[in-house]
Amino acid sequence: MTARTGWIRGAVLSVMIALPLVACDDDSSSGTTMEMSSPIEIAGAWARSSPMMATMGAAYMTIMSTDDDRLVAAAVDSSIADHAEVHEVVMAGGSDADMSMDMGSATTMAMSAGEMVMREVEGIDIMGGEMFMLKPGGYHVMIIDLVAPLEIGQTFDVTLTFEKAGAVIVPVEVREDAP
């Protein structure tokens, strides 16, 4: 990962930021950033556009904090969905017969044939100075009971709550695929 370019300063909840602050060239050029900078930075926040009839969505992003912190909750406005939760996708049941498939020329792949399930997590520890990625097949902010399908080009806010840093509003861009 390179410079801070493109990183979006997390803004503290008290300010209702008016978007669109995707990819500012310089933090200081962003009129939407509070001067009192949050220790939390969020980059590349996106959600997949909803297939027809889908009632669930997922948002992904990279989280970085200057200090050790812990993501403990996620929320969306009720105009977007009923609520949001922090989820993890995990292998169900651990290693069993599914994992030792009789495969010909193939080598074993990490997620080849096990059953996967997603679960709500109580929190995610964010190590100071390290990046934590929410990405497909791993962690996501699950958007539950969508009011309307998420459309490409749309942007909506997810509010993340950190144990120390408090609430951080993250503008999430709806895209067909990862940026």
């Binding site: 297939p51 009632t55 969505g57 009789d102 495969m103 010909g104 020329s105 996967m116 997603m118």
Partner: protein, 217 residues
């Protein structure tokens, strides 16, 4: 190796292939054997899905169901991508199906020789209407398959060594676990390749291109 075999070189990247898996053996080409690298999982003893049928609730798109059950084989000269999933799956299913959709777009006209069959592992919540709209948003050439009994689902899963479970938790939520591979089946019901989760658009498109090329001759 057969010199007379039509051997269009893939325009896609060799390094990707090399870094990944397997050689595919013995596919078509006038009965001759040709070795072509596929990036997904290729078994020495391929899985088979001929004779396996699932209740077909497709009622829109290119293939209106004239029959209420669909055998998991491709149309002649085509490929069938089979996926087990459910529509309330926010992460794994749309990620995989989006990769397949993007790969199909790259194929251009050849994509008309690829159909997608999604078998819901959550038939109780995935009604025909929901499933049709969902699968149809990834390709027009789809089969929306909704098992009518547990037995029907388990039989289909067994053919692919797939599995799933739907658990109703005390708080009212429904937890669905499912195996996450997708499978490419030919007109004979042979599973030519399996793609694990996160296989990627490049690899998926490459494999489809290789298999379509082979089955065209």
């Amino acid at each position: 190796m057969s010199p007379e075999c039509r051997g269009r070189q893939s325009r896609l990247l060799v390094p990707i292939v090399v870094s990944l898996l397997g050689l595919v053996g013995a596919v078509g080409c006038g009965g001759d054997q040709v070795a072509r690298p596929l990036t997904g999982i290729v078994r020495d003893d391929p899985l088979r899905s001929d004779g396996i049928t699932v209740t077909d609730v497709t009622d829109t798109g290119a293939y209106p169901a004239d029959d209420d059950s669909f055998e998991l084989v491709a149309r002649p000269g085509s490929l069938l991508v089979v996926y087990f999933g459910y529509t309330q799956c926010p992460d794994i299913c749309p990620t995989t199906l989006t990769e397949i959709r993007t790969a199909l777009r790259r194929l251009g006209d050849d994509a008309t020789r690829v159909d997608l069959a999604m078998i819901t592992v959550d038939p109780e919540r995935d009604t025909g209407e929901i499933l049709n709209a969902y699968v149809g948003s990834f390709t027009e050439q789809f089969h929306a398959l909704r098992p009518e009994s547990d037995d029907e689902l388990r039989t289909a899963e067994a053919a692919f060594l797939a599995s799933s479970s739907v658990t109703r938790l005390p708080d009212g939520t429904v937890e669905v676990g499912h195996s996450v591979n997708s499978y490419v089946v030919d007109e004979n019901g042979t599973v030519l390749v399996e793609w694990p989760f996160g296989h990627g658009v490049d690899n998926t498109a490459h494999d489809l291109e290789v298999m379509l090329d082979t089955s065209a001759s």
